[in-house]
Symmetry: C2
Subunit: 435 residues, 2 copies
């Protein structure tokens, strides 16, 4: 078998066999197939796509390039969620303890923020002492004991994805639904979960701006997961405005704790509950959405979900007093400015990308991998699409440490919402409840 | 400027500026831009193409990556021909001395055979002692003195093409009309010719099987050459059967000498004369085709063309006695077999690719660059499409040295022509006289 012949097949829009895809991926990871051949192949895939069978093999080959967590000796249902990312999307921080409190085991391997979206690991690391650097053994031990573990990728975790992603990044082959799908699914399935719920976001703050693209991505990932024998379901949710109010790291933890205590913004609560319910139903831990809802109500009211969160924080070395006194324990930036409405009217639209970038330039995110996060900076979004707005009404409360960085953020944030004299409808939060 | 952004522009079907293309090519040749980025870019070009302005810049950047021959101090018209290659295509061997005898200067830098087609250098090297390894200075000196020089590419000759071609070969991006055009034209224009005639072949023995593709390639190359200020013209000629009778190396030299002496097969003579006439007219060395024809008649009848050939052979170190006694001086394989018609009828079709491959497996060509040529092997094609054939009539006379290799060739050759009871027309030799 020769790589050049496999490039030719894909270039002509043909289908590669399982053996051929394995030959490519195994060869690339082992260094037998050079970057330039894989680069040409990736570009051919960008144009010609891959079918379901090819994608399942690609995902499996990538998954098998490193450690695959075997959770067979944990007796319950192993369920996880993945979001394609957005601004203010802190759902994982509530969903994992909530699902665990309802009887699921949640083995969650997350990533860091890059670009305008935040990353779960960065948010958790806003908690003093919290470690996301868990070995496979420690991860599994904690999962068994606590019911949830939230860690980062170790060096041995899906190295094919790391290598392919780096190459895609410099060869302009990132924006390919098959390649995105295989990348996400190879990592999620390597965690060893039986149940996976996908939250594919769409709107001005999402990677998939258009709902049709989000649906294609969702369908592609669901097909891969099912072909690989897992229970997978996807939901399309709104990212035309930030989810919840908090955008940053420490402040997103604060808001998550509020939700776990029964409070928090309605949109955040609704998305978190919908995704958690799907996990529970899919994992047969709840009969239906109603049953799942009742279980979640109980887990919140009893404090069981909050306790799961506390237990995770403690087990992962974090200062668990943040659960009771978030304002005392979690870092908070020193300076505050409010960005207000320049005129009265209706809030018709967010440029959510700009909101994310605004937080990012203050230090909440990274432009390049080496950038350091400032966990205390961020903003609270104080208005929603559809709201009637008076002149001077706060739109954002911004917390920052560096005046120059704030100045950059201000420009972005002032250009991140539209006020019009015409009434606007609030966007539908769950754009499609099942794909 | 970043290579990844230029890949993106091309990936989306956009146009690159001159500065952007120069950045890519200069960066690649200098090693600043890695293979994998160029590989992805090449694949994007494969799908999205390049416009005339992009191609002119690409060709120019490639041309300028190494030595460009400056022939300004040679007072006459510098004219050359390029053929896209075929089976039995030995036109250069006659055209160059014929044009030189009519007053042109022919600076011909040629390639070697690879795949099923022969290469001019390999044919010339069938002449004992003949050297195609001419330094730029020696090449120019000979051109000035003799009126023609036929050499190979030196290390410093269009290194961008060598590097890009090697990469295209392993990334399956060879079959791209813009990339083929830039590759050919960068080399032809680096020779310093003012006039260039392109012979784009089509049919079963050509790289462009379909005439429409041949025409697109021809138009693309003509546009590049004209944008770069040269006089360029292209002809589409037939390669649905071998050109002339000889296929091999030494035997193609034999046949070329026959033509220079006023003999030779009619099709070979016609194509050679048409291309030479185009060069003379384009270079204003002849008023029109009729005038060119008269000049060529004279050059042949007087022996002037043959003398130019002899002079070139002598100057390049070859045994010039081959001109008078080709059968004594040129190598000839030891064994001969005849492949005959298995039934009577009409010869309707050649699989000319198989004819080329048949010669190649006997040692007339290379499967890989390292293969050694056997100059004495080859075949004479003894029938043409349209001929009425009797059973047992010779189709090929095959000269070989190795029985095993002949056996492979035999299988290919026996499967390289069709005899039918239905009459067939001879193909039109010049498919399109000007593109």
């Amino acid at each position: 078998m020769r790589a050049v012949d496999l490039i030719r097949i894909k270039r002509e829009g043909g289908k590669l066999s399982s053996e051929e895809i394995e030959f490519l991926i195994d060869g690339y990871v082992a260094g037998r197939i050079p970057d330039y051949q894989v680069a040409a192949w990736l570009m051919a895939v960008y144009y010609k796509g891959m079918n379901a069978a090819e994608l399942a093999t690609l995902t499996q080959s990538m998954m098998n390039s490193g450690d695959v967590y075997d959770l067979a000796d944990i007796p319950g249902v192993k369920a996880d969620k993945h979001s394609t990312g957005g601004v203010g999307d802190k759902v994982s921080l509530m969903l994992a303890p909530l699902a665990a409190a309802c009887g699921a085991y949640v083995p969650m391997i997350s990533g860091r923020g890059l670009g305008h979206t935040g990353g779960t690991l960065d948010k958790l690391e806003a908690i003093p002492g919290f470690s996301t650097n868990l070995s496979a053994a420690r991860f599994k031990r904690q999962l068994k004991k606590v019911g949830l573990a939230m860690g980062g990728q170790t060096e041995k975790f899906v190295p094919a994805d790391r290598k392919l992603y780096s190459l895609r990044d410099v060869t302009c082959t990132v924006e390919s639904i098959p390649l995105i799908s295989a990348s996400i699914m190879s990592k999620k399935l390597a965690e060893g979960c039986d149940v996976l719920v996908l939250d594919v976001k769409t709107g001005s703050g999402a990677f998939m701006r258009k709902q049709a693209d989000a649906e294609t991505l969702a369908r592609t990932m669901v097909a891969i997961g099912r072909k690989m024998g897992r229970k997978v379901s996807a939901m399309i949710t709104d990212m035309s405005q930030p989810l919840g109010c908090a955008v940053g790291n420490a402040n997103e933890v604060v808001e998550s704790i509020e939700v776990l205590k029964g409070g928090g913004p309605a949109d955040l609560v609704a998305v978190t509950r919908a995704l958690t319910a799907r996990m529970l139903v899919l994992g047969k831990l709840a009969k239906n959405d109603k049953d799942a809802g009742a279980q979640m109500d109980k887990a919140i009211a009893s404090g069981a979900a909050l306790e799961k969160f506390r237990e995770m924080v403690e087990t992962q070395g974090g200062d668990a007093r943040c659960v009771d006194h978030p304002e005392k324990i979690l870092p908070q930036a020193k300076k505050k400015k409010v960005i207000t409405a320049p005129r009265p009217g209706y809030l018709t639209e967010f440029n959510t990308l700009n909101v994310g970038l605004g937080a990012c330039v203050m230090g909440a995110g990274r432009a390049v991998v080496a950038d350091k996060i400032d966990p205390g900076v961020g903003l609270w979004v104080r208005a929603r699409v559809g709201d009637k707005i008076t002149k001077g009404q706060p739109i954002y409360e911004v917390y920052y440490n560096d005046a120059k960085r704030f100045a950059s953020a201000k420009t972005l944030l002032e250009d991140s919402f539209k006020i019009s004299s015409k009434r606007a409808r609030a966007p539908r939060l769950i754009r499609k409840s099942e794909v």
